[in-house]
Structure formats: C-alpha cells, structure tokens
C-alpha cells in the first residue's frame, strides 16, 4: 500500500489497440491535477498490466480500450487483480469506446467509473479523488 502523499495512477492500454490520444490526454490532465501518473505504453497483456500495477504500488488503474475487446481483456485483468489480492486496495476505472450495455457488466466485475467520448478530464480527476480506497 502506497504511503505517498500523491495519488498514484497507472494508465494502461491492454491488447492490440493503438488508439492512444485519449489515454495520453487523461495522463497529462491527471498529472496536472497533482497525481503521479505512470503510463504503460501500448500493447500490454493483462499479466503485464497487473505486474506493473504491483511494482508501481498504485492506487488507481485506468484501462483504455477503443477496439471492442474490453469485455474479454478487462475481465481477465480483474481476475488477475483478485488473484494478487489487490482488488481491495485498487480503484479500477475505464475509458474509451464502451457501449452503454456493457457498463453494468463492467461494474459487476468491479470497474467503478467508465468515461466515454466527450468526458471531461476534471470529472475523471474528481471521481478518482472521491473513490480511491485509502485516505491521503
């Protein structure tokens, strides 16, 4: 569990999706909002993302997907998170192209905030502050 004064956020691109405009904008906005942001870069497997989250001792994992593979990949990531016993301490949020019908399914597996096209970066930062699982 991080003891940093700053909120630590891992932003990740699971799978083969190369759309990184959104994740980069969010990364910069969260950094400007005073958070410590680690970006995984593209083409990461669920295993690599969980490993990075563990190494970096983050409070938040933000998953970005615009390729339609979110159900398969996010489900796998949440399974691994539970296996590593990180689910209790880690807030997981998601962004990208995620159809409305999928939002309740993602919530059920533990992904709390879903931010689609047109989302305001302040809203994302505020959501993180309100929902992280430790008190700073």
């Amino acid at each position: 569990m991080s003891t940093s004064q700053k909120i630590r956020v891992l932003l990740a691109k699971p799978g083969l999706d190369g759309h990184d405009r959104g994740v980069k904008v969010v990364a910069r906005a969260l950094r400007d909002a005073g958070m410590e942001v680690i970006y995984t870069g593209l083409h990461k497997s669920p295993e690599a993302i969980i490993e990075a989250a563990l190494q970096e001792d983050v409070d938040v994992i933000g998953l970005s997907s615009l390729s339609g593979s979110h159900m398969a990949l996010f489900t796998r990531i949440m399974e691994l998170l539970a296996e590593k016993e990180m689910a209790v301490d880690t807030l997981v949020i998601a962004g990208g192209i995620i159809p409305d019908d999928d939002a309740p399914k993602l919530e059920k597996i533990g992904i709390k905030g879903i931010f689609g096209p047109g989302a305001d970066t302040d809203t994302i930062a505020n959501f993180i502050r309100a929902n992280i699982k430790r008190t700073l």
Binding site: G15, V25, G41
Partner: protein
C-alpha cells in the same frame, strides 16, 4: 519539367503598386471604423480561430496576399504546375471522385456481404479494414489476439480468408484499398493470389495499400518492426509492383491518423508530406528513377470541421508536393501529382446526440470535394459508439451522392480559387509545412525525429490543448459542452460476437492441416534468410502466401531478424 501555361502571360490578379496603396489606405479606414463600432458593441468572441487554433482576420482583401504572389505562379490552371487547382484538367466535370467506404468486421463472410451491399448501393470502390491481429501480424489464436478477433475489422489469417472476402467480386472490375501497413506486402500478395485464382493477372488489378509505416510510429501505432527494416520492406514492395503490378498504388501516405491522434491541420499536412519525401528519398537511394514509382504514390487526408482551413490544406498539399517533386527532375508529369483519398474526421464525431454527426460529416465532405479529392469515405453517424451499422453506412454513402448530384459543388473546378481568404490560408499552410521541414532536418531527418519522439510530442501537445479548450468552453462542441441534453439517445449498435473468434480458430486449424507443411516451412526459411541480406522479399512472401502460410507465421520469421519496435511512453 514544367508544363507551360496555355493562357496569355498577363497575370489577371496583379494589381499595380498604386492600386495596392489605395487598397491599404481604404482597409486602414475600414478597420478604424470597425474598432469604433466595437467600442459600442464588442465582437462575440475575444478571438476567432480555426479548429487548429490559427487566428483568423475579420476580413481579407488583396493586400493579405504577399506582393510577389501571382496567379500563374501560385495557383495556375487545373492539370498544370503547381496544380493548386487540381491534378486533372477536367476534375469532376470529367469524372466524379470514387466513393469508397472503409468496411470490415467479423469474419470474411460478414465483410464480403457488406461489400456486396455497398456495391449494390452505388459505391464505386472497395476499402478493407482489417482486425487488429492482422495489422500486428498475429494469428487470431495468439494470446495477444484475445478479444480482438473480428472487432475493428475483418479477421484475415491466410489466403483462405481472403478468397472468401472477395468471393463473387471480380477483381478486374473493382479497385480495392487496403488499410494495412507493417504487413502490407503480405496482404497485397494475398490479393494478387486471389486475383490469379479468378483468372485476373497482376497487371490488371488496381488499388492501394496504405504501406505507410512512418506515420504508424507517429500516430496510428500499428507498427511491428523498427523503422529501417520497415522502410526496406516498403522499398521492396514499390520495386516489385513497379514491374509486375503497375496499376497498384504502392503507398498511401497518410495524414488521416496523425489528425485523428490530435494534430492540427498544418501538422497533419507537414508530417505527411515530410514522410512522403522520405519515401521518395529511400526509393531513389535504392536506385530507382523517380518516374518509375512517383506516379503511383498516393495520399490520404482527414477532413475536419473547419471548412476553409481544410480546403486550404488540400490546395496547399498539391502545390507543395509539386514544388518538392520538381527538385527530382521527373520527366513524367504524373510524378508531380498529389492524388489523395479523404476520410471525414472520426475524431470530430460525438457520442452525444449522434444524429448530429450526419451534419458534421456533410460539411467535412463538402470541404474535401471543393478541395479536389480523388476518393472519399464518409463516416457513419454511429462511429463514436461502434463500427457502423448498415443503415448508418447507407446514410453516409447517400451524403456523398447528394453532394455529387444535387449540391452543384461539382459544376466548376476549384471554386474558391482567388478568394483572398482561401488563398491566404493556402499560403499560410505552405509556410507552416516549410517550417516543419526545416525543424525535422535540424533533428537529423524523419527517423531520428521519430526516435526522439518529436512528432509524437507535437501531436500529444495539440491534442491536449484542443481538449482543454473544450473543457474551458473556449471552443464549442454542440451536444458536448453546449446545447446538451440529459436523456440518452438510443441508436442501434453493431455487435461482434465471440463466435467469430471460434470460427476463425477452426478455419485456421483446418488450413494448417490441409496445406503442405514441408513446403510452407521451406518458404518461411527462405524469407528469413533473405531478410538477413538485401534480396527483394516481395516474391518470397508471395510464394509463402500461395502455400497458405499465415500472416502471423511470416511476421514471426521477420520479427526474429528485424526485431520489434517498442513505441513511446510520452504524454
């Protein structure tokens, strides 16, 4: 070479110095009166800027053009240097642009059906979207393909999939564009092989492969190998096609993805043309004559919301390219031509109130047509949410048909030439491109600039600025930060089921059982050996493809020799 203008030498747009002085005086008076009025009633906005944040004057007149600007030197006639008004003499009075809707989803069967639907509705060229595993040279069964099969495009693993994709579509009658980059040589080989099975020889097929790896490192990010071996694959393809597939556009130098990643219009144009120049230099360095390949280079641009800025971009593109290419002293006039495909801006579409996207797409298409595009894809209204449904794609195609047949935009060539505003914007665009060319030269060229992350950072900066302008309400996006509604509008969404991945897996397994494994292994080894040397890889890839080697297998042997590009972590 230059084509000599067929008109008299008198430049119709040159005013005498005394005219200019008089105009300047009048303009000054007018501006002063305007300022007086503003004291009573200020302008609506503190600054008026384009979509790319370029400040726009309240008025343009002849003095906004530099004194050495000349109609014949800077604009000229369609089909004549510097081609500002269009590459073809007759433009849309001769022939309309090709209506080419990008399509691909699910398996080859689903996409084949969509192609036939579009052709039946008046589409005039095919354009294939491949799923991510194909773009990255992975088999559909690879662990990294989890969840991606058939989602963003059609799943293609082997020649068998390609045979189904084009089943019943005569490849000597249609032209096909394929958005494929790192493994472009493999997909073109498959297309050649399918054509041969239909009895169509390689010199009869026409179309385009994107094959533009440089912008992948900058923006679209579907790279596999590092830049240098990737450039070698591209040059190999250009060389092979110049001999055996002469009607094929071997590269579509693309700004589209640069813009989608967040660049400004000028950055889109600059980075694209600079990449184009890099391909030309590599091909020349490999020993080719400029006229052997330059006429088959084509371009691909974005058309965003700002109507005049986009038109200026297209006009400037032709002029700059012609001026740059003239330095290579081509003998064939076509080597000077910048021919381009346009797609309306996907990134401009909103998930909120999605029907409004039809209007955005219409405005963007009009800019592309006034800008003289050779082919056009119009986005569907649902593309901020999913891949397009059949109904949505039909409206998108009808949009083009209405512009072509009802709007009158096609009656005359380059209708905005001579507009002081549009000519000024065109000049400004050219200047910004030249400035970027200098910067890239100072960084040591395109590949060193990519390695330093220069383009990536420029694009990320512009994307962030644009987002912040929206969030601060300095820029209005209808339905996003103004004119919003609380209730969601439900529109039908195209869903891709998991059964596609299962079917694809079974087909790939069957192909591998039925093919001659020994021959495939030998063909793959030959590619690997040749990759270590300088031999042209294209014919070897074609051989392997015909034996039903998969894209994943061919890319894997190349990965072993070339290595992989790791990408950047900049933001």
């Amino acid at each position: 070479m230059t084509t000599s203008p067929k008109r008299p030498n008198k430049d119709p747009n040159t005013e005498t110095p005394s005219d200019r002085a008089e105009i300047l005086q009048k303009r000054k008076n007018w501006e002063e009166e305007y300022e007086q009025l503003m004291k009573k009633k200020p302008e609506r906005l503190s600054s008026f800027v384009t979509t790319s944040s370029v400040p726009i004057n309240r008025l343009y007149d002849p003095t906004d053009l530099p004194q050495d600007w000349s109609y014949l030197k800077d604009v000229g006639y369609p089909g004549e240097f510097p081609y500002t008004r269009g590459v073809q003499q007759t433009m849309y009075r001769g022939r309309l642009w090709t209506m080419r809707q990008f399509a691909g989803f699910g398996g080859s069967e689903e996409t084949n059906e969509r192609f036939k639907f579009l052709l039946a509705n008046g589409m005039t060229g095919l354009s294939v979207a491949f799923h991510l595993p194909t773009l990255y040279g992975r088999e559909s069964t690879h662990p990294m393909s989890l969840g991606e099969v058939g989602k963003l495009g059609v799943a293609i693993d082997t020649l068998r999939d390609m045979e189904i994709l084009f089943d019943g579509i005569p490849l000597d009658k249609v032209t096909t564009s394929m958005t494929i980059n790192a493994p472009a040589a493999i997909l073109l080989s498959m297309y050649i092989a399918v054509a041969e099975k239909q009895g169509v020889s390689p010199d009869q097929i026409g179309g385009t492969i994107q094959n533009d790896i440089l912008k992948e490192y900058m923006a679209q990010k579907s790279y596999i190998f590092p830049p240098k071996p990737s450039m070698r694959l591209i040059v190999d393809t250009i060389k092979y096609c110049s001999k055996f597939v002469p009607r094929w556009n071997t590269i579509s130098i693309s700004g589209y993805h640069i813009r989608e990643a967040g660049s400004t219009a000028a950055q889109e144009l600059a980075f694209t043309l600079i990449n184009g120049l890099e391909y030309v230099k590599w091909a020349v360095k490999s020993g080719m004559e400029i006229d052997e390949f330059a006429p088959r280079l084509s371009f691909f641009f974005n058309s965003h919301n700002d109507f005049f800025e986009e038109i200026a971009k297209f006009r400037a593109a032709r002029r700059i390219w012609a001026r740059w290419m003239r330095e290579f002293s081509p003998k064939n006039e076509r080597s000077l031509w910048l021919r381009f495909h346009t797609q309306t801006a996907g990134c401009s579409l909103t998930a909120q109130q999605p029907y409004n996207n039809v209007v955005r797409t219409t405005v963007q298409s009009m800019a592309a047509v006034i800008g003289g595009t050779q082919s056009l894809h119009t986005n569907s209204l649902d593309e901020a949410l999913a891949l397009p449904s059949e109904d949505a794609v039909e409206i998108a195609l009808r949009t083009q048909q209405i512009i072509a047949h009802e709007s009158g935009l096609t009656n005359t060539i380059d209708p905005l030439a001579g507009s002081y505003f549009v000519e000024s914007l065109t000049n400004l665009m050219e200047k910004e491109v030249e400035d970027y060319l200098q910067k890239v030269d100072q960084l040591g060229g395109v590949i060193p600039a990519i390695e330093k992350g220069f383009f990536q950072q420029e694009i990320a900066n512009a994307a962030y600025q644009y987002q912040k302008e929206i969030e601060k309400n300095e820029r209005t996006i209808v339905s996003v930060n103004d004119f919003t509604k609380d209730e969601d509008i439900e529109i039908p969404i195209l869903q891709i089921g998991d059964e596609i991945a299962e079917r694809q897996k079974k087909r790939l397994e069957r192909v591998k059982q039925e093919r001659n494994t020994e021959k495939v292994t030998t063909a793959l080894l030959k590619i690997q050996e040749a990759a270590k040397g300088n031999e042209n890889l294209f014919p070897l890839i074609l051989d392997a493809v015909k034996l039903y080697a998969s894209i994943g297998e061919i890319c894997d042997v190349l990965r072993e020799v070339f290595g992989e590009w790791k990408g950047d972590l900049l933001f």
